[in-house]
Symmetry: D5
Subunit: 95 residues, 10 copies
């Protein structure tokens, strides 16, 4: 089941530099891990911004929330989730 997810990341400028570096490294590790699991099939940078637009493929809402809230930068993100369905004009949906 597909979900469109937009994440806007905003790190406070007075965050301790070591904690920042640790968080950012842990974030990348977790992002790669979730992609390897197959639940995060699309991940794009929004040009000019520090956030991303993603598509998640998960079996349920609860699992999607669990994956998103497992991200180390979770508390510094604004996340917006939009459920997706197959479009009737999608080539893959044609008989």
């Amino acid at each position: 089941m597909l979900f469109h997810v937009r994440m806007d990341v905003s790190l406070p400028h007075d965050l301790d530099p070591n904690r920042r570096a640790e968080l950012v490294a842990a974030e990348q590790d977790r992002m790669l891990e979730l992609q390897k699991l197959g639940v995060w099939p699309h991940l794009w940078r929004i040009v000019g911004q520090s956030g991303n637009i993603s598509v998640f493929d998960v079996p349920s809402n609860d699992e999607l929330h669990a994956f998103l809230s497992s991200l180390p930068l979770w508390e510094f993100m604004r996340v917006e989730v939009t459920p997706l369905a197959q479009h009737p004009s999608d080539l893959a949906a044609q008989p």
Copy 2:
């Protein structure tokens, strides 16, 4: 080059039913045509809405505008375009 495109379609309720049917059929034809060309790799229905979220893959801004404005429902859409770049944590970007 990838672009995130959101299209919100709003057909006036007093549109002539024949014209509506023709437009909707022509729209689907053109949507399939652009997908077959390879410039419209992702197309999803937004759950509960009559619009879509798409990703286009085109060589330039001018070509993207030409493709979008060739859609038969073009004059009844609100379209919002967001340029995308490769994300440094994308699995495909890892060395």
Copy 3:
């Protein structure tokens, strides 16, 4: 799987009165039908408005879209869907 759905209905004032009456009657029939199916467990009127706040319980995003777009007033609604998950402080989630 639960989804929070807000529907705002806006019928054009120049809609033919007979068509309006038919649509409104058909809408109520379909609303009752979906409730009987068990996919629409909560339906509330927003005080002072002609829309509703609802909770749907469906197996997938695709089915949710199919149910929503089957409503006779579908083309006169603005619909906003928010996926819900179990809250860790929900009484029902306690060990």
Copy 4:
């Protein structure tokens, strides 16, 4: 009498960790207590966010405000309250 309540929680990143832990624990205790009282019949996590969508069932506006402002995280929340009424197409409202 039913009210739709949306709570968005935002804890400052420089809050003392001990105070944070105490507040979060106290919050959960109070949330369970209000659910046991029967005044908070529905509580859902919004997927991807740290807030919730809830339905309260209280005898009056004043009591609703008293319950909400008794939450330990009250000063860190943005709360939006929408009064609900029975919907005429609610299955439970049919004769």
Copy 5:
């Protein structure tokens, strides 16, 4: 129980003049009626606008919705309802 209500009225310019006159007259009659009933203690014109800011005093959400939707201009209004409680610094609330 008090509710703050803001009504913004917007009559279509192509409404039949007779129907408009009838609606406006009926609206005023119903407004006076509800005030005489005691459920609409405050009614003010917003300077420069065709709407009003009001306070209703009703025993329940359901009754408030019934009163508001009984207004003849109901279908031409945008209505926003905000529940009110006693303020702890209200002079009338002092011991």
Copy 6:
């Protein structure tokens, strides 16, 4: 002359607790004082929020600003003022 005033109060979480207590006590004193003067005839708590909706009755714009800016929490408030006029359907305005 009546004015609708909405005040949204937002105290910084790192404000010194003693200063906070002094400010809040001083605020309540001033609120009572202005009500006794007769310039603040209505004061309501917005359910679920730390602000209020009020009606002021003052002889001029300048005096309204002087009263509002004399509140001890003035620098922590967002204040929105809407001028009110007598509504032609107000029961008190009928001949």
Copy 7:
């Protein structure tokens, strides 16, 4: 007493051309009349728009509403009123 007033005018494109011409001429007459009365000391065109930014000088809120609603294009305007006070750094306010 001064009020900042912003008027945005929006005439429907299908308004009868004669009625439009009459309304526009009557509007200008009334605008000049109110300026001669001294209640409309400032009137500016917003560059690129069909509306205006104005300052009114009136003895009361009720009179301001009466003047504004006497404009022939009143029903085609969105009007926003902001009460003004003397600024403490205004040269004219210096001792």
Copy 8:
């Protein structure tokens, strides 16, 4: 003197086709004319939209308004004007 201008054009779908064709042709003529005059140095299409982003170079606000309101599609546009100044880091501004 430079001004950033954004024009969003919205032609009503029920506009007479002949009038539409005439207006669109006249609009293009006037756009070319103003460019030849040198007052409209930059004109770009916003990808996916029927509007444009432009830069005007005019001696005064009054002349800018005169040019903009001389466009044949003027009554169908929403126009937003932002005054520009030389940027201190502009290469052309370096000593």
Copy 9:
């Protein structure tokens, strides 16, 4: 050439009190100076707020920016500038 300027001032609560006092005094000095120069013909307090609505009269956009950015509180303001033109119904514009 006239420009409508709205300034919203927001001083951080943890600003050093001496620096705050110096800045506020310097701001008033500069405000009076610019008024004496004749470039700031109108300055009004927005009732209930810490900002102002002003009209500037300057020969160019560049000079307007230079004056605005010379204000000592410049870095604590949100400033919005709207170019003004003579209104065709302005009494002063009549033949």
Copy 10:
């Protein structure tokens, strides 16, 4: 390929003054460098604000993001990117 870019800069007031001076100097150096490269053909100050409106000319979305994120003040900016195409009424586009 052209892109419209708006940058709004917001430096925290408690940033260390030396770090601020270094960042601002480095920012100007990088801005000049990118202009010399030819990728930043237009750069304007928005009157009354600390941001800019720019046009970039780059071969791809990825390069645009690389240039923007190389700015020393990058983490203190809100950046909004809009892709541009040739306008059919651009004088340069005429046959």
